[in-house]
Amino acid sequence: MAMLEIDDINKSFGGLQAITDLNLKVNEGEIVSVIGPNGAGKTTLFNLITGVYKPDVGDIRFEGNSITGLKPDQIVDRGIARTFQNLRLFTNLTVLENVLIPQHHKLKSTWFSAVFRTPGYLRREQQMREQALEKLSFFGPRLMSFRLYQPVYVLSYANRRRTEMARAMATGAKLLLLDEPSAGMNPKETAEITQIIKRMRDEGGYTILLVEHKMNLVSEISDRVVVLDYGQKIAEGDYQDVVNDPKVIEAYLGKKAEGDEAQNDQLTEGDGRTS
């Protein structure tokens, strides 16, 4: 049984059909990449899985149980966490607090025992701190020591991305949805984040579904690639097979018209000159 099963989901916003009859399976321990041109419905897919939107038709199952129609926080409880494309950190809070908040839903103590700092609460608080440090240490010393106590707004963009990934891991989820984890990072940082995603699967035991535009990252770590276009799945499989699929090439570059070849050549030449 696959970990995440998406059966024929549809989602439309008014007259715009964002997702059409989408089927997707993610097995445990896999890294699956979702790629596609802008507006293909990748982020909508993430929003559907995490409960921000409810599918019009269809069912989403996680570990065999339907999660359709659950609220985002209930879905996190089941074990799916996400990162956001344009960073949604708790900017005025410290890095440590950012990684402690996602563990709050696992806290069994009442607010009363939290106020009076009962031994049970203090023990759990200690566990939460250890968990937070463990998750942050995935990213090396960058977010450790004094950075733990810095508010997020002083961090660099790459460090914020790392914090967000650590925050998603800290929820205790088994399936992580990463929305463009390398956006805004330079090639060196992208290479590093690629290794980290790999380690998250190998050492952390997470299953990962990610949206990404950087093809070198996708080619390096994906077990499987799913291509979306206009809300429909147009290809699925190994990276090499997918990028050579004529439908995918069409979706990204457009159809080659008859007798268009000469023009195309000119275009590429022009590009060569300007760059």
Partner: protein, 470 residues
């Protein structure tokens, strides 16, 4: 210093601070000035209300304007439950009374007597009945907080602010309707509420201490972090597993409970419970206290409350009549003070030019006002008296404007006063070792310079040692 040592130091300092506060209250108590005592008691009562409002407005980031409604509930219930038998008899005999047999019998004293606890129904044990009454008031206020919290699940921002404001007003108006008049005695209210609690420094500061303790501990617990997460980004908080509905309603309920307590003390301070002491202006004062002191900071809110209360209580001289030349002198001094303050501010912020045209104008105007006030005082016009009604409110507003210009987040911002801050201990600053490590991470070429500096230092030290040896 080690972390445990720091913790011990902070505990010792906390107890010392409490001791200092107690000594301070003893001194105020000893001075025996009724006005001073009342001012401090009012500070504590409004402090409770402002700190509890801060839980919704500051920590959870929901603008709520219905705090006077919660206070009204707590206040009326406390008043009704501890009203003396003489006051009850007076109300019962009054022709305009709207209360009936049943509501007049709602008294903790009666209940204690019915339970056979006659020892607790004497005049000596009024304090116990007061505690019971105020807690009941708080709990019922809390229930209303739960009800008001529910719309907060669907509404956001300004819309929610309007709903909470509406709730506050609905509660106040409901209290005057025929349906609830038997409980509230309509627009007459109750007079003769025992005032020894609201005017006592020990009672009010005791409740304030409890409130501050709960709020501070809550803020730095997992629940407080979740609430702050909601403030920072609701969508992200939900995506990280924070149950928005539960936490928002929790914030409203806890806040309403303490608002109810503050209401109970407030009617005791006033010695009457009337509808016109629970107007929206009350919430407005707390909002000013929260924004001036620092939205989200408990200690900041207390500073803001102190400002609001003491301007209110000691602002009487501002509203007396003075001759025109006295006004001119005061205006001139204020203008010069403003110029000096601006100069200091520009110096600290290193703004250039130090003296700009506006400062010259302000100084000029100030000097002109002073000169006219001093040397033309005998002129007929200048001897006439003027009175500035509402000067207190003007001063308070001016203070608010100045603080909002120079410190938009309030005096303390979101920061909290703590001992580490006093000792300038900052965990978010790297030690030299960490700085070197960090430099190496961001650019190994930088660390060479650091290494070179280190070796230079080391060699200098050894040189020093050797010279000492010689």
């Amino acid at each position: 210093m080690l972390d445990t040592q720091k913790r011990h130091r902070n505990t010792i300092l906390n107890f010392a601070a409490i001791g200092v506060l107690i000594v301070f209250l003893l001194i105020i108590d000893g001075i025996g000035s009724v006005k001073l005592e009342q001012a401090f008691a009012l500070f504590a009562i409004w402090g409770i209300a402002a700190v509890s409002l801060n839980l919704i407005n500051g920590t959870t980031g929901i603008l709520s304007l219905g705090h006077h409604g919660f206070m009204l509930i707590g206040g009326y219930i406390t008043a009704l439950l501890i009203l003396s038998s003489e006051s009850r008899a007076r109300i019962a005999n009054s022709a305009r009374s709207q209360m009936n047999e049943f509501t007049l019998g709602l008294s903790i004293k009666n209940w204690f007597e019915a339970l056979g606890l006659n020892a607790l129904a004497t005049d000596d044990t009024l304090w116990l009945r007061f505690i019971v009454a105020i807690v009941i008031g708080g709990i019922i206020s809390m229930i209303f907080g739960l009800i008001v919290g529910i719309p907060s699940l669907r509404l956001r921002g300004d819309y929610l602010a309007i709903v909470t404001f509406g709730f506050g007003e609905i509660i106040r108006l409901l209290a005057s309707t025929r349906l609830f008049a038997p409980f509230t005695n309509g627009s007459l209210g109750f007079s003769g509420v025992p005032s020894e609690f609201g005017k006592s420094l020990w009672w009010t500061f005791g409740f304030l201490a409890i409130t501050v303790f709960v709020m501070a501990k809550l803020k730095y617990s997992s629940y407080g972090r979740a609430l702050q997460g909601i403030r920072e980004d609701e969508i992200a908080a939900e995506a990280m597993g924070v149950n928005l509905a539960y936490h928002k309603v929790l914030a409203f309920a806890i806040s309403a409970f303490f608002a109810g307590i503050a209401g109970g003390l407030w009617v005791s301070w006033l010695a009457t419970a009337r509808l016109d002491v629970f107007l929206f202006t009350l919430t407005f004062f707390f909002l000013v206290a929260v924004s001036v002191g620092g939205t989200g900071s408990v200690t900041g809110v207390l500073i803001g409350t102190a400002l609001v209360v003491f301007v209110r209580q000691y602002g009487d001289p501002l509203e007396e009549s003075y001759t025109l030349w006295q006004w001119l002198l005061a205006g001139g001094v204020l203008l010069l003070a403003a110029a000096v303050a601006t100069l200091i501010y520009r110096n600290i912020r290193r703004l250039r030019p130090r003296l700009n045209a506006s400062i010259y104008i302000v100084v000029g105007l100030g000097i002109i006002a002073l000169l006219i006030g001093l040397f033309a005082a005998s002129g007929g016009q200048l001897q006439s008296e003027y009175r500035a009604f509402g000067m207190r409110a003007i001063i308070l507003s001016a203070l608010l404007v100045i603080i909002m210009i120079f410190k938009p987040d309030g005096i303390l911002g979101q920061a909290e006063f703590n001992w580490a801050w006093l000792f300038r201990e900052r965990k978010d600053q790297p030690t030299d070792e960490e700085r070197a490590q960090d430099a190496w991470l961001t650019g190994p070429e930088l660390s060479k310079r650091l290494e070179a500096a280190e070796t230079r230092e080391a060699s200098a030290e050894t040189a020093g040692e050797s010279s000492e040896a010689n």
